[in-house]
Amino acid sequence: MSKRRPWWRPSGFMIYAVIYLTFIYLPVLFLPLFSFNNSKYIAFPLKGFTLKWYEQMINSPDMLEALMNSVKVGITVAILSTMLGLLAAKAVTRYRLPGRGPVMGFIMVPLVIPGIILAISLLILITQVDIPLSLWTVGFSHMLLCTPFAMLVLISRMEGFDKSLEEAGLDLGESAWMTFWRVTFPIVLPGIVASLLLTFTISFDEFVLAFFLTSTDPTLPIYIWSSLRFPTKIPAVLALGATIFILSFVVVSFSEWFRRRGVKLESSSGI
């Protein structure tokens, strides 16, 4: 098992892995391809290279407004759900809680409930108490969806480090708040960054809740959904999709670099 195979005689597993990756990559790779295709119809054969869809993307105020809405909602949701997740993660990892299992299960429900059911339940409640639909109602629903994810990420980070470090902080006379700030926070920071990124991504890509709970302000997925009905708008959407993809690649690479740096700092300081 440990002997290295030459690359021209791959193992069965390697062949499978390559086929599998082809399956998950292939459809997605056609999207950027058509963002450079000089035709407003998304169909073969290709008609030559163009950048005009990227130009149209920049000159499309509706799309950019939807993008900004999604960014605004995403950032707010990321911060709030990470805060809620952090409190919950600290509570369940640092205190003995009677009924911990059921309570955790309850907080995790948004993970396993079909989006449409959460969406219509919230829609009914919100209209019954006469709250106007807006990006705030979208944000609230995203916060519900993202908090369990934030909590899971932060719990795994909190369980990973030694509780006695916090106790040492307290014993040495720091207040609870200062202990959190000077001991817990720096150690949990990579988890917080991971949670912020994950929750932002989920909110940014979420469609069903936003579809039911927004009024006139579209988020980006809603804009994409409506433009899928108008074929002429699709190439510009694909251009935006490709741009966002490149941006997320940069962000993820950066966060990975940040995480590795965190790990390195930890190991050098002996934590």
């Binding site: 459809p27 056609f30 396993v112 059911i117 339940s121 919230l122 009914i124 369980e159």
Partner: protein, 308 residues
């Protein structure tokens, strides 16, 4: 796990701060819950209450733009009176079950490969698997329209190879197209939990099994597979439950024959405008899915005991 890591601390009380510590411990659940309360309250308001309201609404009736606010079982009898609703619910469950089975079966070898055969750069492989999922969900579904459509990738490819003269029309707008698209869209959700549970397996157990004379296949069946079952179960639930209610994929690639229960619920809150009936259909769907999940958990539990 946390319970276990807390226990040593309890026995660890030094004589020094014994009384302070005791008081601290006695109020520990209280302190824990006060820390948990913002999250818990948010979930009570945002999750428990809406679900209760949904349940309540399912017993009202729609009267043009208003609700008739008297208790009635009309919506439930409507659901069972028209066989189309339960037929579509059953079809949704069938499609989702198939998607779950295919997704998990395809994901397992991949997760196994990363967990056991990749020695270095596991993270690179995991990132490699998640990269396609950074594309918007809607665009990923749309990509399959592109793959299977009339002038799509498959048809153009087959045509240029000279295998067909006219594009195949049966590729898109049917339940199979929905299943393929969903299996693609949820692949990462299946791989990651399975990978985590495989990665956790103590490798010495496998060596022990081999030393005791089991062959590679049998030690996989009797050691690796049962120990990775939590991941398989988590993956199945993470794929099955959300896909039953999905309406984006069926409405983009499903066509008339591929509609699922999510489309029906959505139309009740849109064009058909019958919120109470939509609520009743949601309640019935949720109960059915919960029943299926319980059955599945019971089944896997029995299976594990039979194998071990």
């Amino acid at each position: 796990m946390t319970q276990a890591s807390l226990n040593p601390d309890r026995s660890n009380r030094s004589s020094l701060g014994l009384s302070i510590r005791k008081r601290f411990l006695s109020s520990e659940p209280l302190r824990g819950y006060s820390l948990l309360s913002p999250t818990l309250l948010t979930m009570l308001f945002g999750l428990a209450m809406p679900l209760l309201v949904l349940f309540g609404l399912s017993f009202w009736l729609q009267d043009y733009v208003d609700f008739i606010k008297t208790f009635s079982l009309q919506n439930y009898s409507d659901f069972f009176a028209k066989p189309i609703y339960s037929a579509i619910l059953m079809k949704s469950i069938r499609i989702s079950a198939m998607v779950t089975l295919v997704t998990v079966l395809l994901a397992y070898p991949m997760a196994y490969f990363i967990a056991f055969r990749i020695k270095s750069n596991k993270l690179v492989w995991l990132i490699l698997i998640t990269v396609p999922f950074w594309t918007s969900y809607l665009l990923r579904v749309f990509a399959w329209k592109l793959m299977l459509g009339y002038n799509g990738v498959v048809n153009s490819g087959l045509k240029s190879l000279g295998l067909i003269s006219e594009p195949l029309e049966f590729l898109l707008y049917n339940p199979t197209a929905v299943a393929i698209t969903l299996a693609h869209a949820w692949a990462a959700f299946a791989i990651l939990p399975i990978y985590v549970s495989l990665e956790k397996i103590d490798r010495s157990l496998l060596e022990a099994s081999r030393d005791l004379g089991e062959n590679a296949f049998m030690s996989f069946i009797r050691v690796t597979l049962p120990l990775s079952m939590p991941g398989v179960i988590a993956a199945s639930l993470l794929v099955f439950i959300p896909t039953v209610g999905d309406y984006v994929t069926p409405s983009l690639v499903g066509g008339p024959s591929g509609i699922m229960i999510g489309n029906i619920i959505q139309s009740m809150f849109g064009k058909a405008f019958n919120w109470p009936l939509g609520a009743a259909i949601s309640v019935i769907s949720m109960l059915t899915v919960t029943a299926m999940v319980c059955l599945f958990l019971w089944g896997t539990h029995r299976l594990r005991r039979a194998v071990a």
